[in-house]
Subunit: 419 residues, 4 copies
């Protein structure tokens, strides 16, 4: 998912210093329950250590803001950019294959010192209007890494046979929704993509017209209980339900349930917990989502179908209310709780491949280099999960993952054609 | 690529017996220059031995026509369906992982006897109107395997350090086209997908409306000479030109040129031949096509853009004139020769992922099972190559391959946005 | 196993021309039942196609005899040495990784022509006394490849789900031996290694003294029936019986029986045949042999223990009587038949790693380059199998394979300490 | 290397409690310079985290002493044996494939508490004569893990591009030895294996007679400077110098120097340090040692040759003087310093495969289960390294590793035949 891009237009310029402080503080809050060793773990190539996320986001501010725009600024440690740079080829050679999981040094304490140093230096830049676009990108970038930090550490703790918890908080009470209802759409032409003045990544534009046939989108997510029926009905053993690549994946990896399931339990940031049948299923792959939809007699929505419903029911700006929706903060483990919102429980797979919008132009330079770069082999997800920072997502947001990946809070909202 | 599907409407019913005889004879003509050992080779998992193609297509007729519809027909050898069935899970369990390249038995002669037996038995079914749709599928299926047979054996012979030739015929004289011109399209709404009465695979439908922005499609393919400039300019070493997955592929496999290139030569069905700078480049991956387009300052077309230009310039029905366009027959090695036709030189990558059209419904049963099954991770190619049997393709045809595959005659036609 | 080396002393000089003709004819006789396609198959990296064995042995004669010693000889085809050379780095660069299984050309007929050409040219060299050592190596080398040809083609045909037979001949009647008896040895000092005047590979020398403790060697091989008891007793599931590497191999590959076993059948050169409990078990790995011996309360012999018993019971020269012992010829499939001979049923694992004898010196030059080269990671096997050409083995012969390999006719003769 | 076995006879019974305290304290001293995160790192499957070594050795005492012999003892945490057990299949099922590198919990502090608890409980058992053999094994076992802890953490820190140091101490001054001299042996029969009354692992016995030919063993180790000459002479590019498996390893992994070399530096526990040409080369594989010996015109010794020289020059008991020889303690990084001792600089490869001595019988039960288990594919090393705890080794000691492994302090002492 990680990527950086140009933005459209700065929003909330007046709050920029406050936003900066809040975002930076949240990152540090998220690692507060972790030990030095927890924060160093890397469980797979797709994931990074918590410490690395703290450092990489700081590298961003130091490189693209302080180095380039703060007169006289010198790097805190000139060896660190090499280690904490990620995929920005334009920013210079990176070592070919060192494992981020071997970075016991610098220590967590060293990195927190670096963060404080950079935060102090940033103060002088936060009110420069010419830097506002870059700063907004930096904030969005750090928020993306906050979600990755949470899903990566969950995956790492899961590897431990002792099943350690990061938070002791119990899961929030689930919202017990009833029968599945439908948001109906009559078809026709509508505009999609980034429409308003707020911040957006370059891949959300240009806004453009799209033709729709009549369709409907479910008003709630598929639940753990429904998934249990799918399993009981032999869903993981029925080749005819699966995409060809998906069936190969199921057999090669012996997949028989969503990630993190064990008997009637589920691994969470609060350790192993009993599984509530009423909350949305999470940690499924695209292949699983597609097979379930086929089994259920429905289909996945396209990304544009999802988007027009989101706008229609929840509006463009308020789509993902920063003041509500998910419980991510320093004191609680992120857990989906169900309900009818399109945002805040889990990312929802669409059947749309992640491809450029018509007339898409990647931004220039290293900062904007990398959204277009991922436009093969991945699928778009819409919404926001319980681990997405409040206010980070919107109707036009395009998240993307490979069809086999499932360590994010990924779920499924069904769709169907209307006559 | 291999897939089978429902059809729309039978065409040329009067010629069905003649078509059957011609298609069956062409398959056998294609293997005439091969030895028993050549016909047994399998060079990679994506490819199959020539003998297997001969047998698999025969299995199709025996299974879906003779077994199901010819009263009293008994299988020629009841152990063979297990071996020559391909991906039709609905037709029963297949062995997990035997290598088709180990099938020295049955012999080529055994298989030709089987073909003759099946052809004789088929005579009584060829004029049954109720079977016409199935027969048309069988013909299209066998034509697809003719192209695969040719590209698979080319890949197998290429593995031999001695560089053996299958045909001695020299490559045809190239058509030296001039400067790149453009087919322009003003944008607006147009219908795409299978529109007319002829045969089509299920993935070409349903026909539907599509919104276009103004764009242009090049009137000729990118040539070997242009590709040489790309290489000379460091195209394979410039990370910024490549998709992220493509760059990984380039580095993991040490890619520095199209498949089959060596110095100023190119491996062909007629062995190693000098490379003509004026003919279309072939045997490139999606990743390479995309990087080239970026380097050249253009982009790949979408599948629908390609289709509306094909209809506009060449018409729906005559799009791929069976009486012209490519030189595939028993006496000549398939080689692209250039020119301005959209069909007949090579398959052209589009930037469209291979996904279902709106309201797509896979056909019922084993025959129609498998088009939808491949709808993840692949890209659509349009046109037809010099190895495509005459009359097999059309404007709505959707070929598809993974972005790293390049053993087909794959090439590139540039596109650009218009104001 | 394939390797070449210096020899001690030529034997049977008078018969050299006759031996040459007989050995060369046997190679061609072995491929007589094979089709062009059979002869091209390569089922794994350890194996080579039958055609390649025919060609590689011919390359040996052409290179080390004709090229180096026949005045005016020109290579039959100068591109072929590159393709049919094997591991002789000293003979020039070889291509890094082409698959021998892709060599449909040259054809079998081309290669037989080459063989005839080389055989004719060899006539003038066969009575040159200075070349006798090289010729004896060439004969031993071709005999080794005869055995590999047989075991490689068996492995290739086994991959075919149709289970084709190479020979129709039924297995020979088994010799039903009774209770296991023992060859006892009182311990002390004995000489081992190549002692007499006949041909031997360099790794069989120098002859040297060895200290023995009292021990006994079984007078017959372990049988299929005994192996079935091992399986029934949970032998493949009991970690404590296995070497650590062996247990890893069992689990990684899901091993539950010797290679080529299926229900109560066994794959042979004559296809699937019912398995005789009275004949020696074959196609087992070192790991399996060691686990069985542990289970049975015995151990494997050392290579020197085996050798001194072989000398004591059967003599040095007559150890492997050319006129008896195994049934390898053009008309019969090789099958172990049991009995009390140390030679001729199967190769017998010893617990001795394949290492240099004291004061071992590899021979100079390409011909003698490669026995020492394999002296890590492999174990010594003694005896000779039903697929070993008559007269090829002897008491001092050291065959060697990796502990996981089992496509040879490998079996097991138990040993024990005596007080 | 890790293994446990029966012992011969307890030594220094009077000091057992003191030894116990000293050994336990040393383990903790070794991790004192490590952070919580350092101690959690696992850089490869062959290595384990420092924390795991601390825990695994404690698990040994708790399981085989306290659980089995201390009345009323209850496990400190009943979930931990599952996590800190290693290869003792007899002690119950272990999880199939969890990565030890993911064990951020229990924390280092948790584990030190466990150690203290176990140490306190052990007091009552340390003077029980019946347990002396088990205790001596426990001490030897913990000493082995001390060396592994040091070599494993070195390998882990090496992965970090920042090259962190664990100790700041500079390397000790090297001993500059002169020309290579030789220990000569006249040949004949000698006894080898564990002869005296002290502790020994089961694989060192039974003592037995061995026949020797006259030979000589170098009186010092091969140095960094000599290795540089080997490199300069193209040693890593000359196929003829290498074992076949070794040459494959060199090419597959692009090996061009010993592990930890970079330009004229070498990675050490004290970070990157300049490389002294006069000290022994270390961190080489068997393949490299063998190729060097071939290049130099010598050979590797056998394990018995090394042993008889060690006895002759240094005596059995005092072979590895606890009061001298290496500098391993809490304050200094282990570094070879050269000299003429057979012990204390690095482990020395022999050309002997690790196989059972005649009449070897593995000890009964879980404690003694595992020496025989490793007797395939590995080579014996003799001596002791700068990271071996003082007093741990002896002339009969048999260390063993696979021929490609080189993260231990492994080096090379040449041998040659005498007339």
């Amino acid at each position: 998912m990680s990527r950086i891009s140009s933005l459209s237009h700065p929003a909330n310029a007046g709050d920029r210093a406050g936003n900066f402080a809040a975002v930076r503080a949240l990152s540090e809050g998220l690692v507060a329950p972790l030990s030095e060793a927890d924060a160093t773990l890397q469980s797979m190539e797709d994931a990074s250590p918590a410490k690395w996320h703290l450092a990489h986001t700081t590298w961003f501010w130091e490189t693209f803001l302080l180095r380039d725009h703060a007169p006289g600024y010198t790097l805190y440690d000139e060896r660190w950019p090499f280690v904490f740079n990620s995929y920005y080829e334009a920013e210079g050679e990176r070592i070919d294959r060192f494992s981020r999981g071997m970075l016991s040094r610098p220590t967590l304490s060293d990195l927190l010192d670096w963060r404080a140093h950079v935060d102090a230096a940033m103060v002088s830049l936060l009110d420069r209007e010419d830097l506002a676009p870059l700063i907004d990108i930096g904030l969005a970038h750090e928020q993306q890494h906050q979600e990755l930090l949470l899903t990566d550490i969950k995956h790492a703790l899961f590897q431990n046979p002792l099943g350690p918890a990061m938070w002791d908080s119990p899961p929030p009470p689930a919202v017990h929704t009833g029968e599945r209802g439908w948001h109906r759409h009559p078809g026709g032409i509508a505009r999609v993509g980034h429409l308003t003045g707020g911040f957006a990544f370059d891949n959300e534009g240009p806004a453009h017209r799209k033709l729709f046939e009549p369709f409907a989108l479910a008003d709630r997510l598929v639940t753990n209980g429904e998934w249990t029926e799918f399993i009981a009905d032999g869903g993981y053993a029925a080749a005819r339900l699966w995409l060809s690549d998906g069936w190969g994946w199921v057999r090669d990896h012996g997949i028989t349930a969503p990630l993190y399931w064990r008997d009637d339990e589920q691994f969470t940031h609060a350790g192993w917990q009993s599984r509530d049948p009423h909350v949305p299923v999470t940690h499924i792959s695209y292949y699983e989502a597609d097979a379930f939809a086929t089994w259920a007699g429905f289909r996945l929505p396209t990304e544009c179908e999802w988007e027009v419903i989101a706008r229609g029911t929840q509006g463009e700006v308020a789509a993902h209310d920063p003041a509500a929706g998910n419980q991510l903060d320093r004191a609680h483990a992120p857990m989906p709780k169900g309900g009818t919102d399109l945002f805040g429980d889990c990312w929802q797979f669409t059947r749309s491949a992640y491809l450029p919008y018509p007339r898409f132009q990647p931004a220039e330079g290293a900062v904007g280099e990398y959204n277009g770069k991922f436009m093969s082999g991945q699928f778009v997800l819409k919404g926001a999960s319980c681990a997405t920072p409040r206010g980070h997502s919107r109707a036009s947001y395009r998240n993307f993952f490979y069809p086999h990946q499932r360590w994010q809070f990924t779920g499924l909202r069904l769709a169907k054609d209307l006559p």
